[in-house]
């Protein structure tokens, strides 16, 4: 099930997938908002809204699993969305799998348990649902120059590279030092709002 089989098979399947996909590219791009980047300020920093909007457009709310923005390319998602991601000629960069220490395995093998295709733009009934908005804040730093803490939970995002390095990393969160692969050595998860209190004080 891993998809990490023979390289030849993998290349062949990609070639087929690309062939099948070329007619669909314009359609699959429609979910990406390609307007001119809107800049605005959060915490005194400039954020490119367009890239965040593209991310948000695929999610019901910040934290929901994204819908799949392309047409079905075959059954094994992790052939392309492996630990490092992959450039697919004619389609773009398939971002790496963010889940788990071992790409394509673990609890996340059944990708379509959470990620679904979109086969229509119609709705059954309109909805008033307003989802949690994309969180633009960056992680706290102890002082200027100190490594920021993670501003989000690392659960299901154990592969930091998936979003913070490579072609799919949004500019605002792209890591300047991807060669240092042990990210959690310096960047810790912000798991609690409490402060240390000595027992009995």
């Amino acid at each position: 099930m891993s998809g990490r089989t023979l390289g030849i098979l993998r290349l062949a399947s990609i070639a087929l997938a690309v062939f099948a996909a070329t007619s669909q590219i314009s359609c699959s791009d429609s979910t990406d908002t390609q307007e001119s980047p809107q800049e605005f300020e959060v915490d005194g920093q400039t954020v490119v809204k367009a890239s965040a909007e593209a991310r948000a457009a695929r999610r019901a709310f910040d934290g929901a699993p994204p819908v799949i923005p392309h047409t079905p390319q075959g059954s094994d998602c992790t052939r392309c969305h492996d630990h490092d991601g992959m450039e697919i000629p004619g389609m773009g960069f398939a971002p790496p799998l963010p889940h788990g220490q071992t790409a394509g395995m673990s609890e996340f093998a059944n990708c379509r348990q959470c990620h679904v295709f979109r086969s229509t733009d119609e709705v059954f009934q309109d909805s008033e649902f307003v989802g949690l908005a994309q969180d633009f804040r960056q992680g706290d730093r102890h002082f200027d120059g100190a490594p920021p803490v993670m501003p989000h939970s690392a659960f299901m995002r154990e592969n930091c590279q998936a979003c913070h390095t490579g072609p799919s990393a949004r500019e605002q969160i792209r890591c300047s030092h991807p060669e240092r692969i042990n990210c959690t050595q310096c960047h810790v998860e912000d798991t609690s709002d409490s402060t240390f209190v000595r027992p009995g004080t």
């Binding site: 099930m1 059954s75 679904v116 979109r118 229509t120 009934q125 908005a133």
Partner: protein, 782 residues
């Protein structure tokens, strides 16, 4: 126990605005919420019986996000796509907001007040009672009823109106599993639990597409397989599904022949001496019931098509008779019936017979929605009883449920026509007496004769024998089998009241529609598949004038002079009602956790004694009711000398099989993205857009023969009706030649106009999985 959100916490310390902890201007600058100013609280998922823990994020009085609860031992933070999109389910623009009464000229509905609506329900029920007696009133509920709703309904109808006409849609869903456990262990619900997914070695799925129907549990199983590569998944099915893609062995059998397959495995276990004789001698008795196919029938032909009341009769049997009975099920014979190669039958017998490996059998609708579904449950439990692979970590028969509280409400509260809380039944005098005592009612209040089971209830309503019917939290005008025969035109002299959150085909035919509060718009308790009771708090206000179902029932009861059944203060009754219900369960091995404890934890598995939950029922060292030092004790089965019963159950063919006129099998089911009739999931954009309409899966060879293409619309026709559907070939499910599959979520393409109302002989559960159809092209061949 709402967790204090970060902003509130900081406010309490006077830190907001100081800029030292929060980065400045973050949340307040934004019109919409961010993760830190949501209030998070726990709830079980609203959909299937897995009972995943979710954390619900609320801001501005609305649910804006959910996340998997990492503290929940069920799902450990993971959800499926339906669970991740729960919030959207609440906010469709067509939510029912006010009571709606059908206009006198029948031309639609008009808004009325709650007082008028409740008075109307009370007067219609009183009228039916006065003129026609308790058998003329009924309530049809749901495995999505919270414990409160189900308990209120049960008490009102059995204790107040002295009628047993209460049944849940769970009758269409897991009644066969109930009767399997009851006939063998004299107590409902599984002995095993989800811990089996980490402890088991071989997982045998009987007609069970877990990858789509119980995806989070399926992922737990895949993770176990990743960690221990010796774990095997065996998929026994009538059609290839996404589950099959992950299986080590795929075994395809002909529809309905699972009875022969299970008997074939039992035959080999006995013949090859792979049964555990010492375990059998200590813990097992043998029973045999009525086996004549003519006597039993199928519940849908002749007189049985109006009322089906077949009752099995047990006689004692023995291991010797069991062995003799199984002689007929040789691999050659079973292979001929099932279409399964002999080698695969032998492989299955080796898996069940391997005493060194833990075996878990898993099943759901394939086994339960079956004209001999109780028998099939019996045979699966038999496989575990004769091998002693039961009540041990990683070795159990385990039935999965499809609704969030099919176990907690329908089965445990006992909202079935024949049942009372905690495994009791109306047929037994001491059970009625105990119930009357707890309810403070005079002896003899509850009638001893069971009421209508679900399908008979709708047959009776259509005939006119049932005059007043209340439907809550379910959608029978989509889900009844042979739906054509239940067509209704209001103004027929009967009264139908429907409580729901959205308009459905069922509200379309109602005389009165009541708007209900959904999920976290009210306080609730669900019980999941592994005996886990889970509580949640009200987190947001329901829209408009929507109110919770239990409140609706209690208000009607008060108007009928039955208010003393619900003696609690109007604004503070949940805990008191729950604790009254709990008193039925304490001391009988069904002990649910206290309300106070449930508020603190992500659920507990009953029996809960001294605050401690039970993983494995009947097991020494696990179940507090077992006093022996080791092994198992089936202490609930008083009628069998506290042993479990192995039943001898033969193979019977299905009620309707393909022929020249209708040459294809039709089987129906769900898809991952939609839950039940889609009344909730279709209002979620992402789910609807993933699977916007029902379709028919056709085998490529059949499609070629018919000359139909993928995407083409065809007409699927049975003896009962027809429906037009787009064709899918080699898609996510792949039926074998001679079979088609249609999901049932789509109210615009009602597959149940095709299905047959054939019923299980013991559980009276319909068989939605087997009937005969043909496929017709709509357009001429090019």
């Amino acid at each position: 126990m709402a967790t204090v959100d970060r902003r509130e916490f900081l406010k309490s310390l006077g830190l907001v605005g100081a800029g030292t902890v929060l980065t400045s201007g973050d949340a307040e600058a934004s019109a919409t919420a961010t993760a830190d100013n949501l209030t998070w609280d726990k709830a079980p998922c609203r959909y299937c019986g897995t009972g995943c823990g979710v954390e619900v994020g609320v801001a501005d009085g609305k649910v804006q996000a959910v996340r998997g609860d990492e503290k929940s031992p069920v799902n450990r933070g993971l959800l499926c796509v339906k669970g991740y999109h729960l919030p959207g389910m609440l906010y469709g623009t067509d939510r029912l907001l006010y009571p709606l009464k059908r206009k006198a000229d029948g031309s639609g509905f008009e808004r009325i007040s709650w007082d008028e609506a409740l008075d109307l329900v009370a007067s219609k029920y009183q009228e039916a009672l006065d003129e026609h007696g308790p058998e003329a009133v009924g309530i049809y509920g749901s495995g999505q009823w919270t414990v409160f709703d189900g308990y209120a309904a049960l008490k009102w109808i059995k204790g107040g109106m002295r009628s047993n006409n209460i049944d849940p849609n769970a009758r269409l869903c897991m009644a066969s599993a109930v009767m399997g456990f009851v006939t063998q262990f004299q107590s409902d619900e599984p002995m095993g639990c989800y811990d089996d997914f980490e402890a088991g070695d071989d997982f045998i799925l009987w007609g069970n597409n877990m990858a789509e129907m119980h995806p989070v549990l399926f992922s737990r199983m895949l993770e176990a397989k990743r960690q221990r590569p010796t774990v095997r998944i065996i998929d026994l099915a009538v059609r290839r599904t996404p589950t099959s893609e992950y299986a080590d062995l795929y075994v395809e059998f002909k529809p309905g022949t699972d009875l022969a397959l299970a008997n074939g495995i039992l035959h080999l276990l006995v013949k090859n001496n792979k049964v555990r004789r010492s375990f059998i001698e200590e813990n097992v008795v043998f029973r045999r019931g009525i086996e004549d196919v003519e006597t039993i029938g199928y519940g849908c032909f002749g007189d049985q098509s109006e009322r089906y009341t077949f009752k099995d009769a047990a006689k004692e049997s023995s291991f010797e008779e069991f062995a003799k009975f199984l002689e007929a099920y040789t691999p050659a014979k079973v292979s001929e019936i099932t279409g399964v190669p002999e080698s695969q039958i032998k492989a299955l017998a080796e898996i069940y017979g391997d005493s060194g490996r833990g075996t878990v059998s898993l099943w759901c609708m394939g086994v339960n929605q079956h004209t001999r579904g109780t028998w099939m449950n019996n045979l699966l439990n038999n496989l575990h009883l004769v091998t002693g692979k039961i009540s041990r970590p990683g070795a159990n028969p385990f039935s999965l449920t499809g609704q969030p509280s099919a176990c907690g409400t329908a089965r445990e509260v006992g909202t079935l026509s024949n049942r009372l809380p905690a495994d009791m039944v109306v047929m037994k005098e001491e059970h009625r007496a105990k119930t009357e005592k707890i309810w403070g009612l005079p002896e003899g209040t509850i009638p001893p004769k069971p009421g209508y089971h679900a399908v008979d209830m709708f047959r009776a309503f259509t005939r006119g024998d049932l005059k007043a019917l209340w439907v809550q939290v379910t959608n029978p005008w989509v889900t009844m089998p042979n739906l054509q025969r239940f067509q209704r035109k209001p103004g027929d002299g009967r009264f139908l009241v429907v409580s729901d959150i959205y308009p459905t085909p069922t509200t379309d035919v109602a005389d009165l529609i009541l708007p209900s509060a959904a999920w976290v718009e009210r306080e609730g308790v669900f019980g999941n598949t592994e005996r886990r009771t889970q509580q949640w708090n009200k987190m947001v206000e329901p829209p408009g004038e929507a109110r919770e179902d239990a409140w609706q029932i209690m208000e009607v009861a008060k108007r009928m002079g039955m208010g003393k059944l619900f003696p609690w203060p109007e604004n503070d009754w949940h805990e008191a009602m729950y604790e009254e219900y709990r008193s039925f369960t304490v001391g009988v091995g069904k002990d649910v956790a206290s309300y106070a404890q449930l508020k603190q934890v992500p659920g507990l598995r009953w029996p809960v004694v001294d605050g401690r939950e039970t993983r494995y029922r009947y097991a020494a060292g696990e179940d507090p009711y077992v006093t022996k030092p080791s092994g198992v004790h089936f202490y609930k089965a008083k009628g069998y000398g506290e042993k479990a019963a192995v039943w001898l159950r033969p193979y019977h063919p299905p009620a309707e099989v393909p022929d020249d006129e209708y040459p294809l099998w039709l089987t129906t089911g769900r898809v991952l993205e939609h839950w039940h009739t889609g009344s909730m999931t279709r209002r979620v954009k992402q789910l609807h857009q993933a699977v916007p309409e029902a379709y028919v899966e056709i085998n490529r060879a059949d499609a070629t023969k018919l000359g139909v293409q993928r995407g083409e619309r065809v007409r699927v026709v049975s003896r009962r009706g027809s429906v037009e559907l787009p064709v899918r070939i080699d898609d996510r499910g792949r039926p074998p030649q001679g079979m088609v599959f249609v999901p049932f979520f789509d109210e615009n393409r009602l597959v149940n106009v095709l299905t047959l109302d054939a019923l299980d002989n013991i559980s009276k559960e319909p068989d939605y999985k087997k009937c005969a159809v043909r496929v017709e092209r709509l357009e001429a061949s090019p």
